[in-house]
Symmetry: C2
Subunit: 170 residues, 2 copies
Amino acid sequence: MPVAEIIARRRSIRAYQPEAPVSDEQLHNLLEAALLAPSACNMRPCEFIVVRDRGKLDAIVQAHPYAGMLKTATLAIIVIGNTNIHNDISAGYLFQDCAAATENILLQAVSEGLGSCWCGVYPTEDKVAAISELFALPENLVPFNIIAIGVPAEADGSRGFYEEEKVRWE
Amino acid sequence: MPVAEIIARRRSIRAYQPEAPVSDEQLHNLLEAALLAPSACNMRPCEFIVVRDRGKLDAIVQAHPYAGMLKTATLAIIVIGNTNIHNDISAGYLFQDCAAATENILLQAVSEGLGSCWCGVYPTEDKVAAISELFALPENLVPFNIIAIGVPAEADGSRGFYEEEKVRWE
């Protein structure tokens, strides 16, 4: 599928087929896509927690007000920004790197026939604190977001569209 | 080309074929890809400045210490975060939205046979000030980055790779 079609089909999926399998190969492809994303000065400061344990997924639902779709999602990927990994130039760009890695996961998911939903964590302080506590994260590992992954139980198709008024020409 | 291959071929291109054409259709496809990216609460807060004027491209090179590849790039896309467009939930996520839109542009560029390079601007204050002044941006339009676009004069192929030690399993 051309990347333009992948981009056009991606949307936030909030209903999944419960307990539908996500294969190890699919999961590897998602993580590899994330780890091939660009990063400032090629510092590669992003890490990932794959959550397949049902008890931990339910605990995230309790800890995060907008992560209810994890009740039916097969798994979650938590994108982590490691604040220890930077140089003088890259330091301010950590969470942009995490966002690029996230977008790669969302697009690869479409290609795998999977759905996804990006649930923001950073920079909302109480969400960062709750997820950090749940996964016993040291201070240098900041939970950036939680990505629900599963087999969609609702239609895909982006809600996005081209808008000429958002483009200025020089 | 499958999205996994697109992701694997993307890399920062710093040498372009001077004055190689980028068609209106290619440019439209890049902007459409950006405008189909996810945004927090679907607020769609990203805008874009397309810079094709050679004088303005050269002025960016003068204003930004790491944008030297614009000397040979055909054009630049400046991704802008509009701080006026948010709700209570989305407010902190503006620049993550800009990063997702950026990644879509980078991947679509590969699909178009084009190269790209993400030059960070926000949150580096002097770069934000310099680009804002150059394009007479009001305070609510924050230049997030500058993306060089052109026909590559160097090989593509990501420098990224899968790293098992960056993944934790739960």
